[in-house]
Amino acid sequence: MTALNPGGWRPEMIAAGGADDSTTFTGNRALMLEEALIFEIGSAETTGVDFDETAFAADLGPLARTAPIGLPGLSEAETVRHYTRLSRQNYAIDLGLFPLGSCTMKHNPRLNEKVARMPGFADAHPLQPQETVQGAYAVIHELAEWLITLTGMHSVAMSPKAGAHGELCGILCIKAALEARGEDRRVILVPESAHGTNPATAAFAGFAVEDIPATEAGRVNLAALKARLGPDVAGVMITNPNTCGLFERDMKAISDAVHAAGGYVYCDGANFNAIVGRVRPGDLGVDAMHINLHKTFSTPHGGGGPGSGPVVLSEALAPFAPLPFVTKHAEGFRLIEEESAGEDHPQTFGRMTAFHGQMGMFTRALTYILSHGADGLKQVAEDAVLNANYVLRSLEGVLDAPFATSGPCMHEALFSDKGLAEGFSTLDIAKGLIDEGYHPMTVYFPLVVHGAMLVEPTETESKAALDQFIGALRSIAMRAKNGDPALKSAPHFAPRARLDETAAARKPILAWNEPAAAPGTPAPSEIGGS
């Protein structure tokens, strides 16, 4: 009978950890399922949609599309399976702590999803007659009022589509305000620690960008900023709380100095979660600030958007806000568009997007805000800051925390790669966290810290979840300090090992092409399917 077991395999070998790395027939590993591309499993004839009527005869002459398009179809059964299998190759907030600094990966309440799908919101057209969409305008107006009150600002532009689009809105307001004053100021000052979107936005709007240095303590160097201010400076873009995880203590002094020099203060509101309900940017002299509804107000990140970036504005910038916007009157809500802008809003810088912004995000954000209320939102900020400080103080003994003595951190804790063994880097720590079942923190940002690791736990993590994460990160930090070679090749347990990003950029393959399959890719016939 030994012929049936020629290798002499015994069950206890599993426990011995003999790292049975042998491949399976399918390439699957139990619940870790490989999935081919739709172009490999689908066909042009297959469809997952039935129609009630047969096609009408088309009479489009030479404009008719006759050549094959090359779009594969799958039946509904196959479609559901394809995307379900793909979904299982993703990490997500629903699976565990997702400490991606600057991104505020908090729990996404499902009531928000339910509300966004109510037919009056999901199945309404943006150009319907105004009398038929008063409820939609009411949502926009109610959310706008909350954002104005929470930030202590004068007004809000709701249409920007995401944070960077909001930055553009604020910067265009500044540009329009300067134009109205008849001034041609061409420089925007941006701290070195800023998100890349800040300098990119200023440049996109035609400004020159200059860096403001930081102090050793991780804050804006007020003296250097003041020294640079002058008649050519249009304004500053400051992130507060900043990307080093610190509150800019001198924010009011910065604003006063910028205003005295004739400039405007743009605040990047990506980190508003740390202060929502506890501090109003309007009290700090801010002229414009975008609010990422997908961060602070928990609209889902969706694997990379959609976001939503309403911009709160000071009285000085409000006249220049973009079209359209909603106003409230005795007879109901009204949408101010190009038509009446001449009377109602003559100084507007114009329109930034078709229609009125991210309505599907407004319904979710308003639902979130109403669920929390003023008291709950304050608690959100407090718990977010408490959780981050708990992580910072629990790990500062094992990971270098460059600004640990600069005061309490806000809602994110910053570490560096200082003190790791020769040849070990932040990247290795990040990949080690993957094996421990976590999404890594933000790495190599902000640029002012070598090998930065920016950890943002958010308020929706329990103490037990934090303790486990702290334990995992401590263990990985020790491995990196002790030079554990296994860490260099992590992750070992993810759907893929480290990917060759250099090869991807050197010879880009950006779309599927039948004949040009990559080496090692099985031909469609080997994969099977329909």
């Binding site: 969409v133 009150t149 969706g302 694997g303 990379g304 639902t367 329990s462 990003e501």
Partner: protein, 452 residues
Amino acid sequence: MRYLPLTTNDRSAMLATIGAASIDDLFADVPVDARLDGPIADLPLHASELAVERHMAALSRQNRAAADGPFFLGAGAYRHHVPASVDHLIQRGEFLTAYTPYQPEIAQGTLQMLFEFQSQVARLLGTDVANASMYDGSTACWEAIVMARRITKRGKALLSTGLHPHYRSVARTMAKYTGDVLVDGDPSLDAGTDWAALADSIDKETSCVVVQYPDILGRIDDMTALAAACQAAGALLIAVVTEPVALGLIKAPGEMGADIVVGEGQSIGVGLQFGGPYVGLFACKTKYVRQMPGRLCGETVDANGKRGFVLTLSTREQHIRREKATSNICTNSGLCALAFSIHMTLLGEAGLRQLAAINHGRAKQAAAELANIPGVSVLNNSYFNEFTLLLPTEARPVIHKLAERDILGGVSLGRLYPANADLANGVVVAVTETVTAADISAFAAALKEVLA
């Protein structure tokens, strides 16, 4: 608070670990006069799920949903049937609650989906490559104009008068501040496009010509000659598609020589959503890929030689290049791209062609029935699922009177071009597969009554 897991005991224990006496100590860096002591006054406090749902449902009921009766609106946002499985799949937590795939080893689901999306979009638009999405069609259109300026090093863009007025408005806003020169104008009520005239206007300063296909009045035209004229003059042809379902029936812009094709992907998988979030499509010829805005997903292999996907060519992007980036875009429209991709996979080529044919056929039925009303005519010689109806009177009041009869009868040109009296009698009418023969009859009967 149902979303906050920390208990009072947890908070005390954590403060002790931190070495802080109270939570206020953690806000010590906030200037004293900027700290709020209690919840902001005059705002409501937290509320139960039931209470919030009740409030939001009441607001939802104050809108007339498209499904509640005959509905004929388009003009850049189209109502199509979205299969139930699309909305189910995009709500899987692994898609819904993930973010930009910065860590590809644990984001292959999103990355493979994006690679498939890019491939589907490129094929649909008839181009070589597409990116991983933009915010929407209007912002994608401006980004294409900026990209053409970078490529040609020229600063004058010629916009067809058939371009959606909101798209044109976005471009005008931006051009005011970037110094780009735009040549544009309102459409006139002609059956044909202004493309031949545009071809004649191209000069040595022209970076690009921007045309919409089908255009704002629903007209379709062959852009082959215009593409050739652009090429001869060293300018780029940018085609804008706001109704991608059309490309199941009519030639793709890329097939006719467009260099950059942008679009609004909303009509496949995304739904109306009162204007957003939508999904911007952005595609071009391979030779221009390094000048593209936005994220790109590419194929590669992992350390074990297995195929995998990563975000690539990111040296174009803001997080690497900062002020030298091709665009400031960061977060795009990932989940809407997923919805688009799933719906497109369900359709497949056969389904898309059938869907497009039904749309066109229904529109022809509607055009014929509406043109039967005395004094009413159809402007277009050619159209896909949307055409311009010319009324014997100003259209805006008619639209409101139709709404009183619970018929949403299209978008008046007066709404789109309020300053242009020449267009006041026009209405753009969209007819998709969601419109029934009974809807068309009800619309025609009501219009006849209102005009009588």
